[in-house]
Each structure stands twice: as C-alpha cells, then as structure tokens.
C-alpha cells in the first residue's frame, strides 16, 4: 500500500466518521433502550424456554443494533425490529402457556368426568340391583296376595256353603220344631180325647195313661178282654199322633200272690198291651215294657177298692220337647 493510498483511506474514514451520527458522545437511541428492556424480558421470562428460536432471533437483532453506531438510524432500525421480535416471542409464549393451561383444565375436567361417570355408573348399577330386588319382593308379595286371594275365595265359598247348610239346618230345625209343636198339640188333643176312657196324668216330661186292670184283663190273666180293644185302640191312635216319642209300658198288680208271680203277671200284661199297640201301628222300637209287680201301689191293698186301683197298666209317654 502506498502512502497516497493510505491517505485516501484515512480521508474516506474521516468522511465516514463525520457522516455517522452518534459518534463519540452521541447517546444511544430510545428505541435501543426500549429494545434492551423487552429482549431482556423475553430472555428471562418463559419465552426463553417456550420460544427459544424467536428469543435468539430478537437477541441477534438487538446485537446488530448494539453494534450500530450509537443513536444512528441503523441502531434505531434494528432496535425497533428487536423490540418487535422479542414482543412476538413473548406473545407466542403467552399463547402457548394459555393453551397449555387450557389443555390442563380440559384434561382435569375429562378426568373428573370419567371419575363421575364411573361413580354414576356404579350408583346406577346399585340402583338397578336394588330395583331388581324390589321387583322380586313385589313379585313375591303379588304371588302371596294371589294365593291368599284364592284361599280367601275358597274360604268364602266354604263359608257360603256352610251358611247355606246352616240356614237349611235352621229351616229344618224350625220345621222340626213346628212339626213337634204340632205333634205335641195333636198329642195333647188326643190325650184329652183319651181322658174319657182312661186316667191321664200330665207330668213335667211325660204323660202317664193309667188303664184299670179290671177293664183290660180277667183276674189272673194276661190276655186282653174283648172290651179292652176300644180303649186301647184309642190309646194307639193317641200315641201315633206323636210318632218319635218313647213309650214305657208298666204292669202293676195288687199284693195278693207271690212277688215273683205278680212281677211275671205284670210283665205279661204290659207285653200284651205292647203287642196290641204294635199291631195298631205303634212303632215297636219306641216301646219298652216293665213288670213292676206289686212294688208300686197307688192305693191300700187291704181293701177291695184299693187293690182294684193297684191292678193297672201305666203307659208313660215322653212329651215332645
């Protein structure tokens, strides 16, 4: 390099030095001050981690501004760009963080939803189980009710049948009672009619018809006299008015003769009366005979009149109740 050439370069450098603003004591531009601040924020903030390329770009641009002469247009220009690039990095980082936070929220919500879904599903299952149990119980109750209903129907039918039966029985009893009352009335009437021919005694539970032995039998005999038949027929007729009552025929004698003979005779006479009555439609099953002999006198055996009264046949007729 020649001396002239060196002089020329120095001249050009001098011209350049004069032409460049901020040279020497010129302060840095406000844009650079602002840019340093913003880039510093980006470097120290979350943008450095989230948007490292953009932060580096801003940093490089800031370095270009720093390299430019203080206060120069070049410095202001690159400071301006660095400021914007740093702000972009910060904005992108904030956006990313917002999205991350949102995703976290959504994820938490999703987890909660799933948990809730599981809970609800379990609850639903439990309720379904409970419902099924309730249904079964209800079915049992229904079946029981149905069975009870059937039983009740059966019982009702039974009761109705019984009621009808009872009603029929009551009717029967009423009829029977009426029939008895009628029979009793007929018997009473017959007995009254019989009073003309025989002595009738009315006791609590029985009628007692007393027929004089003289009228019915020869002395010592047990065959009926022919004259006895009219009276005995009347007796038979009266007895047939009350068909179901029991009849006891008792033979009695006076005290003459031996006891044994008298008992025999009294029994034979009672039997003769029974046979006649049976022959005249009195039911034989109703009739019982007893030979009392001389054991139950009704009068004095020392007089002829008394003895006559003691010789007798008594017919005891049960009264219809």
């Amino acid at each position: 390099m020649t001396k002239r050439t060196t002089q020329k370069i120095l001249l050009v450098a001098g011209v350049l030095a004069l032409g460049l603003p901020g040279c020497g004591s010129t302060p840095v531009s406000a844009e650079l001050v602002d840019a340093r601040d913003v880039v510093n924020q980006a470097v120290r903030g979350p943008a450095n981690e989230l948007e490292p390329d953009e932060v580096r770009r801003a940093d490089r641009t800031l370095a270009r501004a720093e390299r430019a002469p203080d206060g120069s247009a070049e410095e202001r220009h690159f400071a301006y760009l660095a400021d914007r690039q740093a702000r972009i990095a910060i904005a992108h980082a904030e956006t990313a963080r917002t999205q991350q936070a949102l995703e976290a929220d959504q994820e938490r919500y999703q987890e909660d939803l799933e948990e809730t879904a599981v809970d609800q599903s379990q609850q639903l299952e439990a309720r379904q189980d409970e419902l099924a149990r309730t249904r079964e119980a209800l079915e049992d109750v229904r079946a029981e009710l149905s069975e009870r209903g059937e039983q009740l129907d059966e019982r009702t039918e039974e009761l109705q049948a019984r009621e009808q039966e009872l009603s029929a029985r009551v009717d029967e009893l009423m009829q029977a009672r009426e029939a008895r009352a009628a029979a009793e009335q007929r018997a009473a009437q017959a007995m009254n009619e019989l009073r003309e021919m025989a002595e009738i005694r009315e006791e609590q539970e029985q009628w007692v018809i007393t027929l004089n032995g003289e009228v019915l039998f020869e002395t010592g005999e047990s065959e009926l006299r022919g004259t006895a038949t009219r009276r005995l027929r009347a007796v038979a007729e009266a007895l047939n008015q009350s068909e179901d009552t029991s009849i006891v025929i008792e033979g009695h004698t006076d005290s003459r003769g031996s006891d044994a003979d008298n008992r025999e005779l009294s029994r034979a006479r009672a039997a003769a009366v029974r046979d006649f009555l049976v022959a005249h439609e009195v039911d034989s099953s109703r009739v019982e005979i007893i030979g009392r002999g001389e054991a139950e006198p009704v009068a004095d055996n020392d007089t002829p009149e008394g003895r006559a009264n003691n010789r007798r046949v008594e017919i005891h007729v049960e009264r219809a109740s």
Binding site: K8, L11, V12, V15, L16, G19, A73, H77, Y80, L81, R84, Q85, R87, I88, A91, H92, E94, T95, T98, Q99, A101, L102, D105, Q106, Y109, D112, L113, T116
Partner: protein, 116 residues
C-alpha cells in the same frame, strides 16, 4: 482520488438514499403480513390494533420513500411494517386463544355445576 474511491465513499455515505432498485420483495412481505393481521382480527384486539396501526403507518412511509426514490429507507420501513404486522398477528392470536380459553373454562364450569 481515483473515481472508484469516490464511488465507494458515495455508496457508503448514500446508504438508504435512493439510487437502488425498489424493495419489491420486502414491500410484498410487509403487505402480506398486514393482510394476515387484518384477517386474524388484529383490528378488534386492543393491543394488536395498536401495532397494526403502526404497521400501516410504516408501510405508508415506505411507499412515500419509494416515490421519493429513497429505496433503502423504504426497505427498512417495510421491514419495520412487517415486524409490526407480525407482532399484531401474534397479539391477535393470543387474544383469541385467551378468549377461547375463557369460553372453554366457562363451559367447563357450567358442566361441572351441572354434572359433578
């Protein structure tokens, strides 16, 4: 001094002072960024709209310098316009993301009240 020396000195002194070709690519880039910023709704987002406005002014300045033949200055203005527009886009996107996040949170809150 040789003529070539004056040419170098002139070029250094006259940096950004016309003579160069119009900064078409830079201008196209700036305009494209501006349109994108408008498209993402930077006008409606308070902080974004401020930088959108700056971008428009820088672009306008660039256009004026092109007319004045100050191509280098114009190029730098377009670069600043592009940077402002990019920042407006980032801020608009951020505002939108925050709005969406807010909506989703409200929705989640509603859903929680209803179902949880």
């Amino acid at each position: 001094m040789k003529p070539v020396t004056w040419i170098i000195a002139g070029a250094l002194l006259g940096a950004g002072c016309g003579g160069a070709a119009a900064p078409t690519a830079t201008r196209t880039e700036a305009r494209s960024s501006l349109r994108s910023a408008e498209a993402v709704g930077a006008e409606q987002a308070p902080r974004a709209s401020y930088y959108l406005e700056l971008a428009r002014e820088q672009a306008q300045q660039g256009d004026e310098w092109v007319e004045d033949g100050k191509m280098d200055r114009a190029r730098l203005a377009y670069e600043r316009a592009a940077a402002d527009a990019e920042l407006a886009i980032a801020l608009a996107n951020h505002a939108e993301a925050r709005g969406e996040a807010e909506q989703v949170r409200e929705h989640i809150q509603d859903m929680r009240e209803q179902h949880l």
